[in-house]
Point group: C2
Chain length 349, copies 2
DNA sequence: TTGTAAGCGTTATCAA
DNA sequence: TTGATAACGCTTACAA
């Protein structure tokens, strides 16, 4: 078994046809007679040839059929967020018209090993996560001349991007709370930057991640002076940590909490209940994302439902059309406000 | 801007050296004088050459630096399970010594679009999920002569695989319940096959997925006649659905439930509480996986802690060593029993 | 419908 | 330390 794998020219020789004919039989790009086709197939089977070597084909064609998805954190961490997994689902679907597969790439600043963003055989890239590191990744990809789409991040005007109306959506939720009569509100934010420091914000400028910044600014339009507390990630446990901080002092409890994600909101609710508070009677809580939080029942979160799958699909389709030569405009997706059972007027004491 | 991208020979010409010299400057595989090196780098920068084209390099080298990960379900669904995401994390780490990236591939039986398992430029493959479809995927990959590792599935003796001691581990949990005095037990299983039908099992033979089969058989060694109820997936909600079925009839409530995953167990617990039962006083529940179930507190699940990340890492390392020429033996990982607060002796009525 | 021939951009080998 | 040259395996004008 030390013989090398059969190539298309082996098959052609065996079938008694030229290589180009054999090639065409496999690609189907040119009609062939049934007889030669059969001969080629038979020869291929005999030699154990399973089809063109994708490496050679991609060199020749100038396409690999692979789209890189770039994360700025551990894959495990990224996938722990349902929004990300839904987006991946949509992305997979979106690039499928291209027949492309997704290559997981992590941009951790200094990748020693290959293939990194520098060397991966990708036809296009989708950048996710969108913090400050995004710029570097973007630079690498652009230098390589690879089409790129950015999801929820500011990439400069000439890069197609898929955006959410984070500012407006979050403002709507804040407005909802204000309309209910809340004045004493605390904001729980997503991570501020790659450091993921927990704690109260001294200034809104500390937030560097676009999503965080935008949602914060939306809330600020209604509650300019509400204290903001940063979480280190988007999870129920992080929300609970923030919630415990918020509800620690009975004297200074807010009447409502604006959480920048549903997972955070679920954690805040849990912390509230631990502190003996009833939601929404004692404290109202809003989330963001509109995901199904496994384990939150019977509460129905008041939240902004974002089209996570659509976001991924849009990114995938944008990539597909760039590869087909057009320059897609960015796409702005909108979130839908959903009133749930976790908000109510503040208790009048 | 209509000029094609610069190639290494453009760079060589610009720098006044041969292509082979330019090539080694980039690969670093052969020493070069500092002077030529600098000339080449300068020329590359001037021409906007960002390094060798990965497609050409991979053709020449016979390696793409990509490892395919094959799922048998929607990516979104697969990633909803923390065990999978942890495994992906480990996998990413395991292949990193190879410097490989992960290509997400879905084997949905009949992939029309490319690149599929048939055509993706992968150096090796890791098969996950392990149901009946596994066989087909395996066949495809083997025909291509690509090294493959199977995670938690029976692939025939000559395929390296990473296995868990599902049978023994589950038996240990069952034994724990029996030792506590439980006799009236119900088993909630993971999906039986690709159909994912919910409901009571007529016969254990209905289970086709290896993990399900093994965990069932472990429980059977202690409780040969316990009724088994199949869930349609591994989630809290699926567990709750099963739990509601189990606790529907107050006359026939078991004193303990063996759930084949932690998520299912969490759902069963929720259903029990909905039915006015207290865990573990009225009913004991065991899980499997040892993941952190966001939202389960204050309960600590009695469960089998599986090394999910290690499983992925082992698979990645196995792939790496196969690519380096050796034939790794399969690896058997063991689960650790963890007694939590969700099991207790049955209530003596 | 089939064949000829020219690359695709690299890297490995070997000689200088 | 550098250079000439031959693959790597395939696809696609273009010609027959």
């Amino acid at each position: 078994m030390s013989t090398r794998r059969a190539t298309i020219s082996d098959v052609a020789r065996e079938a008694g046809v030229s290589v180009s004919t054999a090639s065409v039989v496999f690609s189907g790009k040119t009609p062939t007679s049934e007889a030669t086709r059969a001969r080629v197939i038979t020869a291929a089977e005999k030699l154990g040839y399973t089809g063109p070597d994708p490496r050679a084909a991609s060199l020749r064609r100038g396409r690999s059929g692979i789209v890189g998805v770039v994360f700025d954190q551990h894959l495990g961490t990224a996938f722990q967020d349902p929004v990300t997994t839904h987006m991946m689902d949509g992305l997979a679907e979106g690039v499928s018209r291209l027949g492309a597969a997704l290559l997981l790439l992590r941009d951790d600043g200094e990748t020693i090993s290959e293939p990194s963003l520098h060397t991966a055989p990708i036809d296009a890239a989708v950048l996710i996560g969108c913090n400050t590191r995004l710029r570097d990744s973007l630079e690498i990809v652009r230098a390589r001349g690879i089409p790129v789409v950015v999801v929820e991040g500011d990439a400069g005007s000439d890069i197609p991007r898929v955006l959410l109306d984070n500012v407006e959506a979050q403002r709507e939720a804040a407005r909802h709370l204000a309309d209910l009569g809340h004045r004493d509100v605390v904001i729980v934010t997503l991570p501020l930057d790659a450091q993921r420091r927990r704690g109260w914000l001294g200034s809104d400028d500390e937030a560097r991640v676009d999503v965080t910044v935008d949602r914060l600014s939306g809330a600020r339009q209604v509650f300019p002076h509400a204290p903001a507390l940063a979480a280190a990630g988007s999870s129920i446990d992080e929300g609970a940590i923030a919630g415990r901080t918020i509800f620690a002092d009975p004297e200074r409890r807010p009447t409502a909490v604006i959480a920048q994600s549903d997972l955070l909101a679920a954690g805040v609710i849990r912390a509230a209940e631990e502190a003996g508070l009833e939601v929404p009677r004692d404290v109202s809580v809003t989330g963001f994302d509109g995901i199904v939080v496994d384990g939150l029942a019977p509460h129905v979160l008041t939240t902004l439902v974002q089209p996570a799958t659509a976001k991924g699909r849009a990114a995938g389709e944008a990539v597909a059309s760039m590869l087909e030569g057009s320059r897609p405009a960015g796409l702005d997706l909108t979130c839908a406000f959903r009133a749930g059972t976790t908000t109510a007027p503040p208790r009048t004491t």
